[in-house]
Amino acid sequence: MNARQNKRRLGQVLIGLFALSGSVWAQSPTGQETMAQLVQEIKQLQQQDHDLQERIRLLEARQVPTPPANMANANPAPVPAQPAEQIPPREVPSPAQTDWHQVHGIQWHGYGEVNYKVLDQRQPELGTGGFVPGSAGNFYTGDFDLFLSSKINDKTNVLSEIAFGEGAHQDFSIDLERFLLKYDFNDHLKMSFGRYQTGIGYYNAGFRSASWVLTAIDRPLIMEFPGDGGLLPLRSVGVSITGLVPSGKLGLNYLFEYGSSDTVRQDLNGSGTVDDENNGNQLNVGLFVRPDVLPGLRIGGSFYHDKISDSTLSSRIRISQSIVNAHVVYTAHGYEILNEGFLIRHAPENSRIAFNMPAFYSQISKRFGPIRPFFRFQYVNTNKNNTIFDDVGLRYGPSFGARYELNDYVAFKAQLDHTLRGGKPNLNGLQLQLVFTF
């Protein structure tokens, strides 16, 4: 196309656009406001154009090859006011000519965070993600996550999540948080093989590990990862199967997981004690409904069972561990209402003793434009005689704060915590966090 043709085409577009905008302008009661809005949106769209060109380039590289569409066999429903134009089917390469790896490529996303935390008690408490207990307050980076996924074919893909976590001395470790081969046969049968986050309750499967996706700065204690003092086996290697049960408007879903957990948890009290629970194979089954009557509502529960031992004891008595969960969650219309209850039961073998330890949390938030204030109340009560969770005891209290979206890729969070601890002074904390994705 030469310059003259370019100019002529541009002129035609401008004339058409002027006529179109003129007709719309005449219909608008608040023309100036509308124009100001449009100018603002044009600026945004110019940026999006750039992004979209990149996306189109990627899309073209990822096109799924198909045989030419047979328009003659199509039976479209009647459509009002259709032009008579008929476009010939697009010629596409045959699957045999395609290198699937080159066509699909690898998708990746990065998630990072920078934190500042201060506590009013210097009595040692577990430092996580680089936070140094006993200090007046300090900065730390937490986790830096790389999420990679690659499509093998229409129903199969591989995903992995690699986290670079900060230790207490600004040393960093690498952890393969998730590594899965996923096969979605249909909505009723979706299988994952590899290292997955267990489907105990809603939070673990709903939010994964990157802080970017969390509304609050940290996870509720009961849903915290064991390396950060959490109580539950939140990761496992094995098979996870889920899907929709034909149930009409009820929207019943099932979950079945069988795998090997290996929970290594740090004590919360800063003693430096690390418990390797030497989990046996775990079974986790769950059911939940997403009723059509209220989109965004999820009600369900799960039952987890495995056998563990306390590595800090000389005797290697196996302990039967059962974890029952029930949850009611609503996420729609900008609301995020999370409620989960847990009962952890530890029953040592050849003993009449059993420890039943309850926990729950409730979190509510509502988005108002770029800001999402939240409130959370959590409660954990473990038995002091249970040597695995004797560092936890009774802990409960509120947290509140807000998340502010600076743009689509960066958010700032602030959170205040007030934790009452059985037999210990109350713990108050301020956390600030800058999270980003790219």
């Binding site: 656009l17 189109i56 328009m71 009647p78 459509v79 259709q82 499509k151 998730r178 899965l180 990157a210």
Partner: protein, 158 residues
């Protein structure tokens, strides 16, 4: 920057502006469109919401659903957000989380024009997209929603 690049960028900007003006001007029904090769002929409004939210991943024949959406500001985009009861920011956050959870391998494909929607339907026979009823072209199969076609009384997508 070459003259051709400037012209291309200007055209894209004008296309975006036209899209916004179109959104201001159009408030009518929006058709739910699939490839003519797709055997499905109708969906319920509840199914449609689940499809566009990525909660329903496959067509009845088991083929994975690929969602194609228009860019921010278009009438079809506004109708999509209305169907999902989400703001633009909620929508972006929602899909970022869906990808990270592994619920889907990629966010919906975003296209700039009806022509690109039509092209996407040819390239991806399992795609579904929303098209303003006045922009429906040959090669696009319009689905009934709750038993109604666009223009019918009771058609819910507008």
């Amino acid at each position: 920057m070459s003259g051709q690049t400037i012209a291309t960028r200007l055209l894209l900007g004008l296309a975006s502006l036209a899209c916004i003006l179109q959104a201001v001007a159009q408030t009518g029904d929006v058709a739910v469109v699939v490839s003519p090769d797709n055997s499905i002929a109708s969906v319920s409004s509840i199914e449609l919401r689940k499809i566009l939210a990525g909660e329903k991943h496959s067509w009845p024949n088991g083929r994975p659903i690929r969602i194609v959406v228009r860019a921010t500001g278009c009438n079809e985009r506004l109708v999509l957000l209305k169907l999902l009861h989400m703001s633009e920011a909620d929508y972006k956050t929602y899909w970022a989380a869906q990808v990270f959870r592994g619920e889907t391998d990629a966010e919906p494909v975003i296209v700039l024009s009806v022509g690109m929607q039509k092209e996407a339907l040819q390239v991806f026979p399992d795609a579904v997209t929303l098209v303003d009823v006045h922009d429906v072209k040959p090669g696009m199969k319009v689905l009934k929603v709750d038993g109604h076609l666009p223009g019918d009384a009771g058609y819910p997508v507008h």
